[in-house]
Symmetry: C2
Subunit: 334 residues, 2 copies
């Protein structure tokens, strides 16, 4: 065997926006497998804001990507060689590997897609993958959201936000979204959100949220941090919850970014900030993916994928997550 593998690897820790000084392409030849390994030809690669955190040398829920290592991400692919007893050539698999055209895997953090799966394989990186599961568990469990309450959703046109808001609507909540363009706002309204705020056209965020949430905010689902978080804090009801799921506004920062300036409001409103990690729910993934699949089949949940063709575009696609020019869950079709 002999496979030419293209990969993006971490050459240096990025300072701000990722450039080819930090993440560079290289080629390697894969000539053999060890016993217990398989070779996967990747078809789709997941491009996620969280990967920016893994590139930094900060303590977090996963160890940082090591210098010289391939960029870590989820992928979907087909087994093309196997010395692993549980996997055959032709099996479709999804799991944690990296920004590369081929991955050698011993099966760790890898799952088979059922042969009779009715869903396109890329769903396993979007609505039925980490993104959909994050929305599902964050809304149905960690947020403590109850029917009739008001949910304020940041990045509402984004992958997690759009799915999370629809789940909250299914639960019988008032759902208000935040998005950064007219096109995105229209999409969010189309999904059934009760109201949407174009934050790029809004000068007084605090007042805009107050207007859209006349009974206050019971749960603020925070994917972004920054000024929107500060404005949300000023609109929290007593005993509200801030679901802390991401902080995209600070991922490319070159200076340390503090917590919100309206930090005091957490005390003043007996509120809570709850950190959310989807990995806490690992044992419930199959059940949840099934539920989400049924919602998609029934037309209760819609979602968008922003599929960029061509492996070489990984970094370009990745950076679009941070200027807001992506349009749905970002995937690379290899």
């Amino acid at each position: 065997m002999m496979y030419k593998n293209k990969q993006f690897y971490l050459r240096a820790r990025p300072d701000g926006v990722v450039t080819d000084k930090a993440v560079t392409q290289r080629e390697q030849i894969i000539e053999s497998l060890e016993d217990g390994e398989m070779l996967i030809e990747n078809q789709f690669i997941s491009i996620d804001p969280a990967i920016r955190g893994w590139m930094s040398d900060e303590p977090s829920y996963m160890s940082p990507i090591e210098i010289g290592s391939v960029i870590r991400s989820s992928t979907v692919g087909k087994v093309v060689e196997s010395r692993h007893q549980d996997y055959q050539i032709g099996d479709m698999v999804y799991g944690l590997s990296g920004w590369e055209t081929f991955s050698v895997s011993n099966g760790f953090f890898m799952n088979k897609i059922p042969e009779n799966s009715p869903y396109p394989v890329n769903y396993y990186l979007s609505v039925m993958g980490a993104v959909g599961l994050t929305a599902y568990f964050a809304i149905t469990d960690r947020s403590g959201l109850k029917p009739g309450e008001t949910l304020l959703m940041s990045a509402a046109a984004g992958a997690v936000g759009s799915i999370g808001g629809q789940i909250a609507k299914l639960m019988g909540c008032r759902v208000v979204g935040l998005a950064g363009s007219e096109e995105k706002c229209n999409w969010v309204k189309h999904l059934g959100f009760d109201d949407v705020i174009n934050y790029k056209e809004t000068t007084d965020m605090t007042a805009a949220i107050e207007k859209a949430c006349p009974e206050g905010v019971d749960v603020y689902f925070d994917n972004v941090g920054g000024e929107i978080l500060d404005a949300a804090l000023l609109n929290l009801n007593s005993h509200a919850r801030v679901l802390f799921c991401g902080s995209i506004a600070s991922y490319n920062a070159t200076e340390p970014v503090p917590g919100p300036y309206n930090w005091w409001q957490i005390l003043a409103r007996s509120a809570e900030v709850r950190g959310f990690l989807v990995s806490d729910y690992l044992d419930r993934f199959p059940e949840a993916a099934l539920t989400i699949g049924e919602w998609v089949d029934a037309g209760k949940i819609e979602f968008k994928e922003d599929v960029v063709k061509g492996f070489d575009n990984c970094v370009t696609a990745f950076n679009r997550l941070f200027d807001g020019s992506n349009n749905g869950k970002m995937l690379i079709q290899v």
Copy 2:
């Protein structure tokens, strides 16, 4: 009747440390009462960090003290005139009034001390008052602290911290305190804390907490904010709770103070920040005060009061809360 009342009033909103530009003494003559009012001669006045927040014009859990109004605080006093049907001359009362030698009250937020109460009246401003009740409900309810877990207590020699730590010891927890002098540290050790860190002698707070909490921190009880909070966040266990009870490090700030720089750790550790307001537990105050009283009688809880004699010393005593030179619950004996 004619009573000369001395009071400290809010002349202007303070910028930083409170001086007589912001809080000034004045005299007024009280000549008569309306129907339903009583006149209380104050014996003890409570001096609390939270009062600094009420002097600022920021949204909070209570409206700001208005310019020209007496400084709001808890007091204990004796009824010396009464046109209120529920109160007789000679009754001892405690409740919310202000930094003044006499208070006119219609009974709102005022309670009678039982005639047969075995406790010194000043206890109703300390261990059996808001301070003790804060420690009690924060530890036994809001923190979710469980036996065997590790509690890290800020301002451990302070009024809330010293009582809270002792309650956690009664629950069977490992309790580590933070205090700012050798004398305070000795007091904290005397109270039965498992370990104590002198933060003024510590250059690397994160490492010091790690050493004192080898199994990590399950609950960090935050009265202070600032750098200690940031160091605590780096030592939280998965699903730890930060009980947000105060932020004394920022009360005198002249610029906006942001939340912690290690904000991300809340997500990375699936942790929670829980705002705490003792007023959420109003209906359980009598039950809790009884329990605390029993603990004090049984010698299970010790506490210190720092009683400063002389009404004129209100502001001086108040400012000692912020340089750490107080030694226990600060009270003015009028």
